[in-house]
């Protein structure tokens, strides 16, 4: 019996990514087996939405800038309402390599995991970051590993695959400001299984990271506080099974 192909939606959050977004969308549209592409324009002022549309993506235009968490969540809501089987989250800046998407999806169907994270650190595949960033990712890895009782190497990676159950959950519960590390804890503690697969990532070609040098301290404190608070929250969904 032949398996029905999965309906997969690529969710691309973008804030003022006019230089990169067109390339990201056309690369995503070249992925095989094909995925639908929706760009969530987080109130950009540089024509990101128009360029994404021209490149062939559907575009969700947020009238007010919500930050990355609110933008990604809009994509989850879209996927949940339109009955997609899986969501791939891809950054709008061109860092992630769309040709790695089949590897994420295969890992998901192969292991039955609810969430698959594309990790830069699982295997040495030519991604280097600044020392400060490395310390940051170590700290998150340590905290989240303690919180979940298992090791997650790349908590800040925004290159992920979610199945429909995880998408439904996240469309209602997604952290606001810097969601990646916190969502790992949130998902893990609510009974979703998480896998990591090694992926390549590119150095950022255009624009700057959403996290500035000054902001990184605030970022760390805020995210660690959120994770710490999450540990005391009641579970939102009961473990099935």
């Amino acid at each position: 019996m032949k398996k029905k192909p999965l309906a997969v939606l690529a969710v691309v959050p973008a804030f003022n990514e006019s230089e990169a977004i067109g390339g990201v969308v056309s690369e995503l549209r070249a992925v095989s087996p094909p995925v639908d592409v929706v760009v969530v324009d987080d109130g950009s002022s540089d024509g990101t939405a128009r360029l994404a549309e021209t490149a062939g993506a559907r575009v969700l235009r947020l009238p007010i800038n919500l930050g990355i968490g609110g933008a990604v969540q809009t994509g989850f809501r879209y996927a949940a309402r339109n009955g997609y089987d899986a969501v791939i989250q891809v950054d709008g800046d061109g860092q992630h390599v769309p040709s790695e998407i089949p590897a994420l999806l295969e890992a998901m169907s192969g292991t039955g995991a609810d969430v698959v994270i594309g990790s830069r650190f699982l295997a040495a595949r030519g991604y280097t970051t600044s020392p400060a960033r490395r310390i940051g990712t170590r700290v998150f890895s340590l905290f989240n590993s303690l919180a979940l009782g298992r090791r997650i190497t790349d908590n800040t990676s925004g290159f992920r695959a979610y199945n429909a159950r995880a998408v439904r959950f996240l469309s209602e519960n997604y952290p606001q400001d810097y969601p990646e590390p916190e969502s790992v804890v949130l998902l893990g503690r609510n009974g979703f299984s998480i896998r990591e697969v090694p992926v390549r990532m590119r150095e950022r070609e255009h624009g700057r990271s959403s996290i500035s040098a000054f902001g990184s301290v605030y970022y760390m404190v805020k995210v660690l506080l959120a994770i710490f608070v999450d540990l005391f929250k009641a579970r939102i969904v009961r473990q099935e099974g």
């Binding site: 947020l62 609110g70 809501r77």
Partner: protein, 129 residues
């Protein structure tokens, strides 16, 4: 000296209470948010008028100068109100986020359905004079 402090604090309490009622009357302040303010104003007023109780309260908590106890209570009321507002702002932020997301989803749907209907019947609408 004590009397002057008492007069000032009674005045402050009365003005606060008057302002709150005026704001409610003009629909500028919802009762839901006025409740804590009214409670605070009443507490300040009661403690300023009823000096013996203020003195008793001050000695309970170990404050030698009774009017200081009044300031402490007022400060505490202010903190409770500020905390309450933080909770309200957090709720509003959450609701706002949901609304913004909903608008984006509806706009996309509208665009899509309009495009589809336009394709089906090209002269969809005639301009009216």
């Amino acid at each position: 000296m004590q009397v002057r402090v008492q007069i000032v604090s009674i005045l402050v309490g009365v003005i606060l209470l008057g302002t709150i009622f005026q704001l409610i009357r003009k629909n500028r302040l919802q009762e839901k948010y006025a409740l804590l303010w009214i409670l605070s104003a009443v507490i300040v007023l009661v403690l300023s008028v009823w000096r013996d109780f203020l003195a008793l309260f001050a000695s309970w908590v170990g404050i030698f100068y009774a009017p200081s106890a009044l300031f402490l209570v007022a400060l505490f009321c202010g903190m409770v109100i500020a905390l309450h507002f933080s909770v309200v702002v957090s709720d509003l932020t959450k609701q706002n986020k949901t609304l913004v997301q909903e608008i984006a989803l509806l706009k996309e749907e509208l665009q899509r359905t309009r495009g589809a209907s336009r394709k089906r019947r090209p002269p969809a609408r005639k301009r009216r004079p």
